[in-house]
Amino acid sequence: MAFLEVRDVTVRFKVGSLLAARIKREPPPVLTAVDGISFEAERGESIGLVGESGCGKSTLAKAITGLVPIASGSVHLDGRELTGRRDRNTMRRIQMVFQDPSSSLNPSLSIRKMLAELLRVHRIVPRDRIDDRCAELMDLVELPQSLLDARPRRLSGGQRQRVGIARALALEPEVLIADEAVAALDVSVQAPILNLLNSLREDLGLTLMFISHDLAVVRYVSDRVVVMYLGKAVEDRPAADLFEDPRHPYTRALMAAAPKFGERKAPGEAALKGEPPSALALPSGCRFRPRCPLAAEICEQDEPGLAGPSETDRAACHFAWTAEEVS
């Protein structure tokens, strides 16, 4: 039994009036943001969750942390199922770092007050040790003590992200989910934050789930990568294998589409044509079929599931393990 297990998790949102749809005899306006995702992570492993907008990766993160309810399926941590109603101690174990530095910190609290509140409510340390612990947390994320009494508006984007990491770590979690934690930062500031996440993961034995749309960044941080498309996981492989030899056409297209040094764009060329279909009107069979260069008849009739040599080496394509490289 793996440390963190996500089993067939589905998350749905209502996007219109159920009553109106029933009157008009239309299908219920329900958006399935996450559609039966399963994967697992060992303690201390770093999983990268990759996909473009609308694939459901952020929603999945929120479901794992308990921010949004799970429609079906379950999440298990260390053998125990995490239900909709979680007590405070359970919530402590999974924490999150958010994307947008301008909205991830409460503007009316100083850094110290924010950290102290968490330490106090969860009784992490005795009251007289709270200030010391705040200082330790700042050291952990390589920030000067002087910023403790500042408010978020005084801090730069990179500093705010570090504070976000400190906040997540204040509760001494076992799982840390970074939801596009560096996407809003300048490149020169991203690198130290990524390095910090890597070293914290090693030093604290954290299980890291790194969510990003940027494949190169994910590669730098993750042991394993799960690629998502329209609510489903389409590939789940060790990072080195995935980047060297992607098995799902979508992953291949994504890697081809990413801009690379030394490459020049040919006129009119595009690695992946068209746009993803609306999540409310999914194609039959494989969801990627309309844009897939390998699409065949079987793809229309039979939606491929994740399959492969092992639990941690799978792709959801009928031709994943048979087709030759498609350039």
Binding site: M96, P107, H122, R153
Partner: protein, 293 residues
Amino acid sequence: MTTPPASSFEAVPELHHAAAPLGDPGIWRRMPKKVWVGLAIVALYVLVALLAPVLAPHDPLAIDPVNRLAAPSADHLLGTDELGRDVLSRLLHAFRVDLPLGFLGALLPAILGTVLGALAGFFGRWVDTVIMRTGDVVQAFPAYILVIVLVFALGQGARSIIIAFTVLAWVIYARIIRSEVLRVKDLDYVHAARVAGLPRLRILRVHVVPNVINQTLVYLPNDIVFATLALAAFSFLGLGIPQPTPEWGAMIADGQPFIRTNWWLATVPGLVIVGLGLGLSLVGEGLEEGLRS
């Protein structure tokens, strides 16, 4: 889909929402001048209210039927009213009636409306429905009818007025705060508080309310003006503070029949109200600009 760093000429990215004024000393330094001017005016009014018994040359209730409707003189700087009472003294003592009632008549609805709006926005579902639909019903009633009914039921006087205002005016605060809470509820720092397992009421109190209260603060000075004017209107209609207590609206009403001969009886209290309104408007406008960091 992802937001790159902030605009092109900021080396230090600024937060995109107004910083809460509570406890942030820097905010007061950045306030536009008009806030201080307005506050000075309001402070002056408060001072007059406090010192009225000392400043007033005569007893505001002392009737002198022989000397009624006298023109301004050294002894009666604003003359006397139709019952021979010194207008100036009545005007000054009216500060002690209108000012507290105007403030309370805005503050109590603000508090009630903020609390209800925050609860409605934060908890949603049936709490939201109950509170907001009640607000709809309240707003659907013609305000003055409601006040008349309440005053008849509870009797004339300051207490009834305050209750009437509170029952009516909370709705707009609730709407403003509710919409702000809906916006803030979805920001990442609130998500973070939830993920940290903090109790919901605590999240509301510490993480949500301080960041939405700006709107209340901006609206409040203007609402004090409205409350004062409403009080004056009710007194004008005979529903406000009962005689013989001096009150600006009542004084205007009393002076109205004599507008041709003793025009100042109605006009001067009116100007006093305008002055207060000016001061409060400056504060309100200034706060809105200053809080819009």
